[in-house]
């Protein structure tokens, strides 16, 4: 297969003193070229750690990886740091949630983008300072910053939150990467600005034919942006499939519960919302069986004994559950 990114049973455990925190504990997913995959889950489910692991951004120790992260067939987890450097920024780049903390306050934004271009340029040859600067201005125009040539000479504090996120996108796409990891790119922004930024990301990803891994907790963002989605819970992918299918027929009780918990604009006023009782388990003391079993309304004896593996049902859909919901009559995993 020609998957751009293929993650096989990724585990990222943090060894802190005697405790082992299993932040990511079995993530399997794949992204095709040009495709948008959304990773969705609540805080602490391991979605950001998964992205950081793909980029090898976590210091080791305490982080310990196992499994495989294949980018165009090469395992990033087994690469030398030098090879990883060659992939970062150039083949895979990343945008973070907080645009203020991910930009250097002491440098002009044009210089920060130009630096990315000079360090990572595809041909490996030298890019002149002038050419890199011109590329920076061009990118700022692309992300819709008015007066790009003047704005390039400004510092991050002179820009609003939405503008800073545009700068981050310009930087991330400056070297025309094949894969963009966007970790909650609009969570810190107001809705009207979020609408601008989501539109921009979608347009540019299409124009540059960049595959996108979009990490978010907002199911609305998933529905609008992605073709495929992976739902994570307590460090594991519990369900994966095409966005329209998962929304129409969630197989995992957690996915179904999440979808039902969102208050909707067309819902009845003050009507009781669906709740998922209880809390996410402690990642240092994960239960032996299914991690969701404690909160699951469909739990049976088997669920507490052994962890269900991610298996294929209903042609192409994947779910990690012994008793999946809403099956159309396909094979049980």
């Amino acid at each position: 297969m020609t998957a751009l990114l293929e993650i096989k049973n990724l585990q990222t455990h943090f060894h802190i003193g005697k405790r082992v925190i299993k932040a990511v504990d079995g993530v399997t997913l794949s992204v095709q070229p040009g495709e948008t995959l959304a990773i969705v889950g609540e805080s602490g489910c391991g979605k950001s750690v998964t992205a950081m692991s793909i980029m090898r951004l976590l210091p080791s120790p305490p982080a310990k990886h196992s499994g495989q992260v294949l980018f165009e067939g090469r395992d990033i987890l087994n690469m030398s740091m030098e090879d990883v450097q060659n992939i970062r920024g150039k083949e895979i780049s990343m945008i973070f949630q907080e645009p203020m903390t991910s930009l250097n306050p002491a440098y002009k934004i044009g210089d920060q983008i130009a630096e990315t271009v000079r360090v990572h340029d595809r041909d490996g040859g030298k890019v002149s300072k002038k050419a890199a600067w011109d590329r920076a201005v061009e990118m700022l125009e692309k992300v819709g910053i008015p007066g790009a040539a003047q704005r390039a000479r400004q510092y991050p504090h002179q820009m609003s939150g939405g503008m800073r996120q545009r700068v981050m996108i310009a930087m991330a796409l400056a070297c025309n990467p094949k894969l963009l990891l966007a970790d909650e790119p609009t969570t810190a922004l107001d809705v009207t600005i979020q609408a601008q930024i989501l539109d921009l990301i979608r347009e540019l990803a299409q124009e540059f034919n960049t595959a996108l891994v979009l990490i978010t907790h907002d199911l609305g963002v998933v529905a609008e942006m992605a073709q495929k989605m992976a739902v994570m819970y307590a460090g594991r992918v519990v369900e994966q499939g095409a966005v329209t299918d998962v929304f129409a027929r969630p197989h995992h009780p957690y996915t179904a519960g999440l979808l039902d918990s969102i208050p909707r604009l067309d819902g009845m006023k003050k009507q009781r919302l669906h709740t998922i009782e209880g809390m996410v388990p402690d990642l240092a003391h994960l239960p032996q069986g299914c991690t969701f079993a404690d909160r699951c309304e469909y739990r049976q004896a088997l669920c507490g004994q052994k962890k269900p593996e991610l298996g294929t049902v209903d042609g192409g859909r994947q779910v990690a559950c012994y008793y999946p919901l809403n099956l159309t009559g396909g094979d049980q995993p």
């Binding site: 107001d190 600005i193 609408a195 609305g220 529905a223 929304f247 909707r264 006023k269 709740t275």
Partner: protein
């Protein structure tokens, strides 16, 4: 006024201007008009939602209603009496009837106090209970918000975000208030926990007849919990109407934009999204005329010249020249 009995709270032309200090001698060089003439009323047992983007003045409004911030001008009538003119002892009395739940359950609980002590403190301050009676009331409050009596001995760091928000709610309920200002009470919580807290707030309102001023930036949350909704933009209220009417038939262009900007959890449904150009202008230097005119898709000449009045029509309020 005839509706004096049905309205628990009436706010008239409320303003808060913060001075900008600058220069060598710290002179006032300008003002940030955080809230600039906001009026609304809340009936007993009703929930009024305030929605808007960051910097629109919704939290400042909530803080002024409780006099946690001093208003620059305007009236706040609580059961017909002007809170803005209360002296210290009247204010203390008033705070027994009006309480607040904050957004950040991490920052609004004292880490050095046990949860039981946190909930007991307002009852001690207001001389409501002491001794064994106090302990009993604390236990009752803990149960009311879905926690157990054993939780009272624990400290805030031992709780999850959702549980801490429950503690914050129990503390607000301790003095048996009539009005609770909820300032983004679920914004910091995950979806599955958010729905637990929203359900709790609705149940408590129905059981105890509470009145809420509910502030949030998430329109879907506001729509869920509110009877009526006020939309704020840059220190002004631009529209105020019943929740269903506002969502299905928004009158103000900004309200329409807000509704269209929310990503809907319905894949495949192409939304006719209105995308606004640019950012919210600075409240230190708001545009002339209608404050929304710099970003409004329906702006005409009059909008740049005169500020539209916040007028009543068919029981709704809206501030726009083009309704």
């Amino acid at each position: 006024m005839s509706n004096r009995d049905s309205n628990l709270l009436t706010v008239n032309d409320l303003r808060k201007h913060f001075p900008i200090k600058g220069g060598l001698f710290g002179r006032t060089v300008g003002t940030v008009k955080a809230v600039d003439g906001v009026s609304f009323s809340i009936k007993r047992g009703e929930t009024l939602g305030l929605v808007g983007e960051s910097g629109c003045g919704k939290s400042t409004t909530g803080m002024m209603v409780l006099r946690l911030l001093e208003p620059t001008s305007g009236d706040i009538l609580f059961e017909g009496e002007n809170v803005a003119q209360f002296n210290k002892s009247r204010l203390k009395d008033f705070r027994r009837q009006a309480q607040i739940v904050f957004q950040d359950p991490y920052a609004s609980l004292n880490p050095r106090m046990s949860v039981g002590d946190i909930i007991a403190e307002p009852m001690i301050l207001h001389g409501i209970a002491k001794g064994p009676d106090l302990t009993k009331r604390v236990e009752k409050l803990l149960r009311l918000v879905g926690l157990g009596p054993h939780h009272g001995r624990r400290y805030p760091h031992e709780f999850s975000g959702g549980q801490r928000q429950r503690v914050g709610i129990a503390r607000a309920l301790a003095v048996n208030p009539k009005l609770i200002v909820c300032d983004e009470p679920v914004s910091a919580l995950d979806v599955s926990i958010q729905s637990q807290i929203l359900n709790l707030l609705v149940e408590l309102q129905q059981e105890m007849g509470l009145t809420y001023l509910f502030i949030a930036h998430g329109l879907n949350v506001i729509k869920h919990i509110s009877d009526r909704i006020g939309v704020m933009y840059l220190g002004k209220m631009v529209e105020l109407a019943g929740g269903d009417e506002l969502i299905t038939d928004p009158w103000h262009p900004y309200t329409r934009t807000l509704i269209s900007a929310i990503p809907k959890p319905q894949p495949g449904q192409k939304s006719n999204r209105i995308i606004l150009q640019g950012d919210v202008p600075s409240p230190a230097n708001p545009p002339n005329g209608c404050r929304f005119h710099t970003r409004c898709p329906e702006c005409t000449e009059i909008c740049t010249l005169t500020e539209p009045e916040f007028k009543q029509r068919n029981g709704r309020f809206v501030a726009c020249h083009h309704v």
